[in-house]
């Protein structure tokens, strides 16, 4: 009974979760002002893509998607390292990580 329910989870369930994650990520990026929260939103977008890759890999039978998502995880870590370095530098210079107040250049 339980296994039947588990087996009925198909590609659509995974894709729905992925789309929801992507939407939440975009929402965070567009509405939040804190640089750290924006970067968290980016992580959500990357992980939404990862779920897609793994799902398609499982249902298409190839291994490319798994490989792709491994590389994406590594890249997300590299990007987070550079991003946090830049944000720390911003905090040292501007004493804030609010992206709307870090806006000295005008038209």
């Amino acid at each position: 009974m339980l296994t039947e329910q588990l087996l009925s989870i198909g590609v659509n369930h995974f894709l729905t979760i992925s789309v929801i994650l992507f939407g939440l990520g975009m929402f965070a990026v567009m509405t939040r002002k804190n640089a750290i929260v924006i970067l968290m939103g980016v992580e959500l977008i990357l992980n939404a893509a990862n779920i897609n890759f793994l799902t398609f890999s499982k249902y298409n039978g190839g291994m490319e998607g798994v490989m792709f998502s491994l590389f994406v995880i590594v890249l997300a870590a590299a990007e987070a390292a550079i991003a946090l370095a830049i944000v720390i530098n911003i905090f040292k210079t501007f004493k804030t990580v609010d992206v709307s107040s870090v806006d000295t250049m005008k038209e």
Binding site: V29, N52, F71, L75, E79, I86, M105
Partner: protein
């Protein structure tokens, strides 16, 4: 579920990799150069600016030899279809090495970076890493490789933009570049994942075969194309993915601005051409119904919006770096016109235009740096009366700006002429785009010519006498860039022929 490979399989994988490495020598060489530069910086300590710059230029020149040797090799895809060696890639390899060398030359004269207290070691290493990344962007034939190459370029570029750590504008530019870059690369990745879902392939040639054989859902396809366009449009700096560019161009150290505006944009175009020409089905005959939007219609809108927005907003700019940023948005629009034609003539025109853009934009930024070294700002008002005090630089800047407008007898004119003639050769279908292009070029004449107007015809509020001296090396670089811009404006045939030869690989995919 997946069995471990046997010993024989591993042996065959290793021999494939060894075979592929023979086609990968320029990239390997430049990766080694990257590490050598870091080590050189560690060994020589703080007083090494001249040495590091010289080593970088020598190293980049050395890579030309390896690229030249590749010209006799046949076109191949290697590393399990991840990467290709072909004429198109080789053209861009030359292009990126040239832009890397020019970036080092511009860095050498920049006072702001000279005064930077914590050394320049990582800067040159990052510059070389970006050259490698851009070469890979132009030659990758696999979604994974494309994404990795693009991230290599982006991550190096973020660090270079924020290189002046104590300068608030530089840090702010880095933050903006990072936020927009991270989001758009996430969207690109999501688009790639959808393509992988539709086709179960990551190699672009096989993707096009699967899409042609099995068809696809147009709605999913248009969504995918939009997501991928967001990622590539960010690299190209085209409307509506341009929000980062004015602030980043203004805040970043000027040599980095020049490098981003030319090289990273060209890499975006190279990837766009390879991806959309090869992977995604196209052609107007397939879409008779006007309700169907294909990637070409999207590109047309992006191109028209870029030309109009970039040129119109540039009129009000008071900062020359910011003005050039808006002009670079407009140039992305002109370059897209060549891609929209979807034929060899248009692709050839794009390559010629990029070569022209390399010379004229670097030239303009080079002079802007030399002037900023003296005046300490990039404001248009500070250019007043400078023409008489720096005769060579004034003349050179005027030539570069005329070339950016696209007036004869300069290289920029040839580029624009080829793009518009390729567009008009397709008939009346693209007439409206050509009209927008020509009208916006007229607008651009106004704001570009504001700079010479200020330099020659207006007097400074605080008049000073005497000629401003610049170093001999700077004079030689400025003069040779100016002469090349004029020379290729008259004798453009070799470059046009080479560009045509480089686009031949798309023969089967273009109509």
């Amino acid at each position: 579920m997946f069995e471990m490979p046997s010993g024989a399989e591993i042996q065959s994988i290793i021999s494939t990799l060894k075979g592929g490495a023979g086609y990968f020598i320029p990239e390997i060489y430049l990766s080694v150069l990257f590490m050598v530069l870091i080590l050189l910086d560690l060994v020589t300590g703080k007083k090494n600016r001249g040495l590091l710059a010289t080593a970088t230029i020598a190293g980049l020149l050395g890579s030309v030899y390896f690229i030249f040797k590749q010209q006799t090799m046949p076109d191949v895809q290697f590393f399990f279809g991840m990467y290709a060696l072909d004429r198109f890639g080789i053209f861009f390899k030359y292009f990126f090495v040239a832009s890397g060398i020019l970036a080092v030359l511009t860095t050498m004269v920049d006072d702001q970076l000279k005064k930077h207290e914590s050394g320049m070691g990582e800067y040159y290493a990052l510059l070389v890493a970006m050259v490698v990344g851009m070469m890979m962007m132009a030659s990758s034939t696999d979604l994974l490789m494309m994404f990795l190459a693009m991230e290599l370029v982006s991550l190096s570029a973020y660090a270079m933009t924020g290189y002046l750590k104590r300068e608030p504008r530089s840090s702010e530019a880095a933050l903006k570049y990072l936020v927009y870059g991270a989001v758009s690369s996430g969207m690109l990745l999501y688009g790639f994942s959808l393509i992988y879902g539709m086709t179960a392939e990551t190699n672009i040639t096989r993707i096009s075969m699967v899409l042609a054989a099995h068809g696809y859902d147009p709605l999913v396809m248009i969504l995918t194309v939009l997501l991928i366009m967001a990622g590539l449009g960010y690299k190209m700096g085209a409307v509506p993915f341009h929000f980062w560019s004015p602030d980043v161009y203004e805040g970043a150290p000027t040599p980095v601005t020049a490098y981003l505006s030319v090289a990273s944009k060209a890499a975006g175009f190279a990837m766009l051409m390879r991806f959309f020409f090869v992977a995604v089905p196209h052609g107007f005959d397939m879409y008779v119904s006007p309700l169907h939007i294909d990637w070409l219609s999207i590109l047309m809108l992006v191109s028209a919006a870029s030309m109009i927005y970039g040129n119109v907003v540039a009129i009000w700019q008071k900062n020359v770096k910011r003005l050039l940023a808006y002009s670079s948005i407009a140039h992305a629009g002109y370059l897209l016109l060549g891609i929209i034609t979807m034929d060899q003539l248009g692709t050839q025109a794009v390559l010629v235009y990029l070569a022209a853009y390399l010379l004229m934009n670097y030239g303009a930024f080079y002079v802007v740096i030399l002037i900023a070294n003296h005046t300490g700002s990039e404001n248009l008002d500070d250019y007043k009366g400078l023409g008489k005090r720096m005769p060579l630089l004034g003349a050179a800047l005027t030539v570069f700006l005329i070339s950016l407008v696209g007036l004869p007898p300069t290289f920029g004119f040839i580029g624009k002429l080829m793009i518009f003639s390729a567009l008009l050769a397709k008939g009346s279908l693209f007439m409206w785009l050509a009209l927008i292009g020509i009208l916006t070029s007229v607008i651009s004449l106004y704001y570009y010519m504001l700079i010479p107007l200020n330099m020659y015809l207006r007097e400074s509020n605080t008049p000073e006498e005497g000629v401003i001296t610049t170093g001999m090396g700077a004079k030689i670089v400025t003069a040779s860039l100016m002469i090349l811009t004029l020379w290729f404006g008259l004798f453009f045939q070799p470059i046009a022929n080479y560009a045509k030869y480089s686009t031949a690989i798309f023969g089967a995919f273009l109509n």
